[in-house]
Symmetry: C2
């Protein structure tokens, strides 16, 4: 299962009643954060998932509302006692930007390791702590990437086939988890006891951008598609175009085209006090749309998985 | 008169119910901010004094909880339509630190002008937009300065002496405001119509530091002395010493020694949920002590001045 929490749902500037858009994910205890605007550490502390297991941070782009909270977050993580490295993934130049920002957070007790998405790359994929992380180049005022997280799921363990191998039972677990084992001079591989790979989990996060045909392809089949909707009012379409953002309607169209299961809107304009007022504009196009709110959480299960599994 | 607002009262990290310590002052419409930790822009927006007239920012030191909100604040100020330069006063190196932090806030529509306090200087004074700004080197883990703001007040206008000069009445106002005037080949100076200079206004802001004998001298006669009290519980004196901070009791002793009129405690430890619980420890020493809280404001009048003046 994958837990996700939308830490905030605001765009452009933090408000006293709305934190900036950022997504925290938890997979087998490993935390992955996408974006870190000013005060992200505060809402993350309120959420209560802790800081010590923050293994990965993905940055969409270098506008302040998506990265300015990084020094404070790293210091908070240092306070949690973390000593293991943190991987930071972002556009080319992210290492230099973070080096600048952390001029006020030196002496961190952990290393920062950087994965820079090479300039000009339309798509980019990497594995990090069990997450498959893919990035898609978007269409914004700055170089900006959407992120898709995938959690693969191996085939089902076939008890009969395992028994037929006449292996000691202690080898079943590593085989089930995907590791080959050696026994009496012979190598046994997971495919000998597992059925075909099953559908995994996919969550996609897209902000800040104009709509583009590559986005539905990128988000295809997502269990949750978290997408910016700076404006709910379709009368502001021209403004959305001008500022390289989207309306609720445009986000809903992408959700339909991508065949996603659920859409959460986020990155609301500070001028839009009650985004729910406009939710009908999105639901008319994609009914399974929800307005994000600070610390809206979901647990995404594998098909036929029980939360108690 | 001088308006002051304690924008936050927290130390070390912003909390969901307590912003980081920063002080905003307003004099004849000109805003001066001391310190700018993460999310200072949020509480400043809630306060409602605006951003466009932010002429001066004083930074005490380069720990993140006192400066990390600067990029966001400057962007917010840019959004307000400001185009006039902003003066930033701080320890030597502040220009380079701000240059690093604003890597995510480039293209500001105003200039940043820096006044760096030369390393090794115990005291430093400068004038900025009607404020007299003095800095005192404190005793903290990093190079750190306290700030004292003074608003001088000229002598009272003497109607009889002005009349006796036989000057046209239109010259009275510039003379009263401190400017010399020329009339019929003769120069008239303000001292010809003004009585002796009167007591001005003084507000002093001291955080983060251990107590030191120089602090009462620096704060002497302040109308308001805003001083850190990281811990209310005197049992934490040793911890205060170790981290180069102060207890409520220590702050109160400085208030007594400095002969200030009123003490506001601030920069509370995140672990201290209810600072008021410990206020008695300070009041036993200096009765006119108050616990700071987010956006606690005061209007400091000149002696015998009426708010309607």
């Amino acid at each position: 299962m994958l837990d996700i929490a939308l830490l905030g749902c605001g765009g452009m500037m933090p408000l006293s009643n709305r934190y900036l858009t950022a997504l925290l994910c938890r997979l087998n205890g490993s935390l992955l954060l996408i974006d870190c605007g000013e005060a992200t550490q505060v809402t993350m502390k309120t959420l209560g998932w802790g800081f010590k297991n923050l293994d990965t941070i993905c940055i969409t782009h270098f506008h302040a509302d998506h990265i300015s909270g990084l020094p404070g977050l790293l210091l908070m993580t240092a306070n949690s006692g973390r000593e293991d490295p943190i991987t930071i993934i972002g556009p080319q130049g992210v290492a230099e930007i973070v080096r600048c920002l952390t001029v006020i957070a030196s002496d961190l007790p952990f290393e920062l390791e950087f994965i820079e998405i090479p300039r000009g790359r339309r798509e980019f994929s990497v594995s990090a702590h069990g997450y498959g992380v893919s990035a898609l180049h978007l269409n914004h005022g700055a170089v900006c990437y959407g992120y898709s997280l995938s959690v693969p799921r191996g085939g089902k363990f076939d008890l009969e086939r395992a028994k037929a191998l006449n292996l000691p039972v202690r080898f079943w677990n590593p085989l089930q988890k995907g590791s080959a084992v050696e026994f009496e001079g012979r190598t046994y591989t997971p495919d000998m006891v597992l059925g075909p790979a099953r559908k995994g989990i996919k969550a996609t996060y897209v902000t800040d951008t104009r709509p583009a045909p590559s986005i539905p392809d990128f988000a295809r089949g997502s269990d949750i598609f978290i997408c910016e909707g700076l404006y709910g009012d379709p009368a502001l379409s021209e403004k959305a175009r001008e500022h390289k953002h989207m309306t609720f309607t445009e986000a809903a169209r992408l959700a339909v085209a991508g065949g996603v299961s659920e859409l959460w809107l986020t990155h609301f304009s500070p001028a839009m006090q009650n985004p729910k007022e406009f939710i009908g504009n999105a639901r008319a196009i994609f009914p399974n749309t929800y307005c994000g709110y600070d610390r809206k959480t979901a647990t995404i299960l594998f098909e036929d998985e029980d939360e108690a599994d």
